[in-house]
């Protein structure tokens, strides 16, 4: 009476949905990474360290009941003697196991995936859509930058290079032909599957793109007013910047300058590990930079990028001088960025239209700042702001990433 069928399926039917699920998890990783980028543990590490990123599993939200006293559960006591008021645990039995009974799934336990990523992968995740702006072709030294360029199509190729568009076009062509010939009925139940001959692949050619040479100046305030937290944010910012440049470009020169009331050109390790003390004279570092530029990096041959990071608490007599020097640097640089670390910002973040802050336009809508005297360096720099001079404010770790996007994201910034 019953029928038995040996099932010989060639396709794994869940595969596309699993792939889709995995893609979503990947995205979740990407999102979580942005939250952990400023964690102390990754700052100052070399590329070998693995970072654990907790990723929350994808939830499917429904209306479910919460935990109030009226929400009682029922269970079987087995052979155990039971008493009213007896404490039987800290967590609901069902939740602890994280598995529901199936269809009417109402389990609540958060599922976490711990994903290990290396610093390199991290950079890959983070920096894929960012680029140094306005790299001009300059003489003499070149930064090589290998890119792969698509060129035409071929009938043979590897799977990842499958051109969906061309393949689909060929399939449609074949389908229309079949319809005309009458061998396929579009209204019917039958699918019109892809055929091996439909497949077309992108052909690629490696192309060495020769960028002009670039030099990056990292300027950091290490004066006494840079508290532990501020220092941490500044270093995180530079550290990411450094990783970004290393990841994106094979050859860039980096000059590290730290300053208090006087400026020093320091090696990389020292730059990321120095202690702080003394007062603040921002102009000293700018002076030193201009000096280095004159001696070593002529603007005709070099793309110059300058990133300054400090708390903005400059000696007010120094501000005018800074403005002039910044102007001078801006003249010769492709991009100059002034990054101010100020934790007061984080509390006020809600008040600001973020585009306003991060794209260097004047500090218009930030009411708390309006009332303060306009003598600080931040507002003094307003006239300089344009596509070549940008200001960003960092109040807490989560702003670092936004600042990054404001500086390098261009139109792609999210």
């Amino acid at each position: 009476m019953s029928v038995f069928r040996k099932h010989k399926s060639i396709v794994d039917r869940a595969s596309s949905d699993r792939l889709r699920h995995k893609k979503k998890i990947d995205k979740a990783i990407k999102d979580s990474i942005k939250d952990v980028i400023a964690e102390e543990s990754i700052i100052g590490q070399n590329g070998k360290k693995k970072i654990r990123v907790p990723v929350r599993g994808l939830k499917e939200y429904r209306f479910i009941y919460g935990n109030n006293d009226q929400n009682k559960s029922v269970g079987s006591g087995g052979d155990h003697p039971l008493k009213r008021g007896q404490k039987i645990g800290k967590q609901r039995a069902g939740e602890a196991q994280g598995q529901g009974t199936g269809k009417a799934s109402d389990q609540k336990g958060d599922e976490y995936y711990d994903v290990e990523v290396s610093l390199e992968e991290l950079a890959e995740y983070l920096f894929n859509d960012l680029e140094l702006p306005d790299l001009e072709k300059k003489q003499f030294r070149f930064v090589s930058h290998e890119t792969i360029k698509r060129k035409g199509y071929r009938f043979k190729g590897i799977r990842p290079r499958l051109s969906k568009k061309e393949t689909l076009k060929r399939k449609i062509r074949r389908q229309k032909k079949a319809e005309k010939l009458g061998s396929f009925d579009p209204e019917g139940d039958e699918r019109f599957p892809f055929h091996k001959d439909d497949l077309k692949y992108h052909h690629i050619k490696p192309k060495i793109k020769e960028n002009s040479s670039a030099v990056i100046f990292f300027l950091m305030d290490v004066s006494g007013s840079m508290s532990q937290d501020r220092k941490f944010l500044a270093r995180s910012f530079f550290f990411l910047l450094y990783q970004f440049l290393n990841h994106k470009y094979d050859q860039v020169e980096v000059v590290f300058i730290s300053h208090s009331t006087y400026a020093d050109r320091v090696p990389e390790e020292k730059f990321f590990n120095v202690g702080t003390n003394g007062g603040t004279m921002i102009s000293t570092s700018l002076d030193l930079e201009l000096d280095v530029i004159t001696k070593e990096f002529h603007p005709n041959a070099w793309n110059i990028y300058t990133f300054y990071c400090g708390d903005g608490e400059n000696w007010s007599s120094d501000n005018e001088k800074c403005l002039d020097l910044f102007k001078e640097i801006k003249e010769v640089s492709q991009l100059t960025a002034y990054c101010e670390i100020n934790e007061h910002y984080s509390g006020l973040a809600d008040e600001i239209d973020k585009d306003d802050v991060f794209h260097g336009t004047p500090w218009g809508t930030f009411s708390a700042w309006k009332n303060e005297e306009m003598d600080n360096l931040w507002s003094k720099l307003n006239p300089l702001c344009d596509s070549k001079f940008k200001k960003v404010m960092i109040g807490e770790a989560s702003h670092i990433w936004r600042a990054f996007h404001a500086l390098f994201g261009g139109n792609k910034s999210t």
Partner: protein
């Protein structure tokens, strides 16, 4: 590897069917698919349907089952059967013969239940496979459509899945259409001049089919988006009877497989492992309710107290709620040793509220019922669409508060489907609470 051939299956199947007929069962013919472990995972992810539309959540379900299985937390089920005509059931190739015998007898029980229980009267078993197939085809078409694509399709499906249980829970009852309600209201007005209902109101009565209501009344949804929501709605409606009868259905299938296999006169080499497996399936789960256990024990008690014929009638007319309410008594509750418990915020621990003794068994039984099947899922209905097109939803509060974190996400989903203002009302700690 395996200790059986297809011949064995045919042999035992024939015997099983003969005994089942003698018991007075009437079921759909069953098609058994013999599949391997991977395919079983796939079948489970898509609730057994060979033709289900695709969505990433089924990929997640697959991974979840796979992980649980690898960690040894769960065994694969011994049965998976679909309410269709013919019924489709799966046998896992790796299983031993005695498991197949149990599974086949168990499936006869399920198929009989699908065919006889009145909750399933409208599930359209003859065409359900085709209907799912055409839905799957439609979804695939949308995904392949360059002007729509997977992102947009997923957006709608994600949102619709969030309220997929917000459909009526009264299968077998013909709900009145808006026109009919209007007719009734007019008759009432003729009979009683003081009766003045608001006939402009949309909907006229609270609408429990939130999915369908949104699909049909949203002003912003596109045609294909409405169709997608209705696909989800259709699939929910199909599964509602199963959710309403989980305890009975499993209890009945266990009762039947136990009865049949005992009459098969299996050799000891098959019978002893069968007994072991049977006891494993119907064992109580500490701190939880095992529907197999509860349903089996209650049917056992009914058959002992009355007769098997009485049980045959019960499997036709009841659902879990009425089944438990009518047939559980104090002695049964004591035997099952059920208790109710809840999380006490002040004590920060889970505490037993009531136990199955003389004064407590009724309260524990009531809590058991509110925790059975769909009763675990909050009821939300459409109250009204305002003049400004604001959709007003109300949660039917029964003492249990909503989980707000979840409710907020679902609210956002609903708002994105409705495309205009949505108002949501519930009670939290006895105070009115609104989104």
């Amino acid at each position: 590897m395996s200790d059986w051939t297809e011949k064995d299956l045919l042999h035992w199947d024939e015997k099983i069917n003969r005994i089942a007929e003698d018991l007075g069962l009437d079921w759909y013919p069953i098609d058994y698919e013999i599949i391997d472990y991977q395919e079983m995972l796939g079948a489970m992810a898509y609730v057994g349907l060979p033709t289900h539309y695709r969505h990433w959540s089924y990929g997640k379900e697959y991974e979840r089952t796979h992980t649980l299985y690898n960690m040894g937390q769960t065994g694969l089920p011994y049965e998976m059967i679909i309410n269709s005509n013919p019924s489709i059931a799966y046998l896992m190739r790796e299983n031993a013969l005695y498991i197949h015998i149990l599974t086949m007898a168990h499936c006869v029980g399920h198929s009989d239940f699908f065919k006889q229980n009145r909750m399933f009267a409208d599930t359209n078993p003859n065409h359900i496979i085709d209907s799912f197939k055409s839905s799957a085809k439609y979804v695939r078409k949308l995904i392949e459509d360059p002007s729509i694509g997977i992102e947009k399709v997923e957006h709608i499906l994600d949102a619709a899945h969030a309220i997929k249980y917000q459909v009526p829970r009264t299968p077998g009852i013909q709900l009145k259409s808006q026109e009919e309600i209007l007719q009734i209201e007019k008759l009432k007005m003729q009979a009683d001049p003081n009766y003045e209902p608001d006939l402009e109101r949309v909907p006229l009565r609270p609408e429990y089919n939130v999915l369908k209501f949104i699909a049909e009344n949203s002003k912003t949804l596109k045609e294909w988006e409405r169709n997608l929501i209705l696909i989800v709605e259709e699939s929910s409606q199909y599964f509602i009877p199963q959710a309403l009868t989980k305890v009975m259905n499993e209890g009945w299938a266990c009762t039947i497989h136990h009865k049949i296999v005992n009459e098969l006169n299996l050799p000891d080499s098959l019978h002893l492992p069968f007994i072991k497996l049977h006891n494993q399936v119907i064992r109580p789960h500490l701190g939880q309710v095992n529907p197999y256990h509860l349903g089996y024990k209650l049917f056992e008690k009914i058959i002992e107290d009355t007769s098997f014929e009485e049980a045959l009638t019960i499997r036709e007319v009841h659902n879990d709620m009425t089944f438990l309410r009518c047939y559980i008594d104090e002695e049964f509750m004591r035997d099952m040793n059920y208790f109710s418990y809840s999380f006490k915020k002040d004590k920060k621990s889970i505490t037993i509220d009531d136990i199955a003794d003389e004064s407590g068994w009724e309260s524990v039984r009531d809590d058991l019922i509110t925790n059975t099947g769909l009763n675990r899922i909050p009821i939300v209905y459409v109250d009204e669409v305002g003049k400004d097109n604001t959709l007003s939803l109300v949660h039917e509060h029964d003492g249990r508060d909503l989980d707000l974190r979840y409710a907020e996400k679902v609210y956002n989903y609903i708002a994105s489907l409705w495309g205009d203002n949505v108002n949501f009302v519930s009670l939290i700690e006895n105070e009115r609470w609104e989104f």
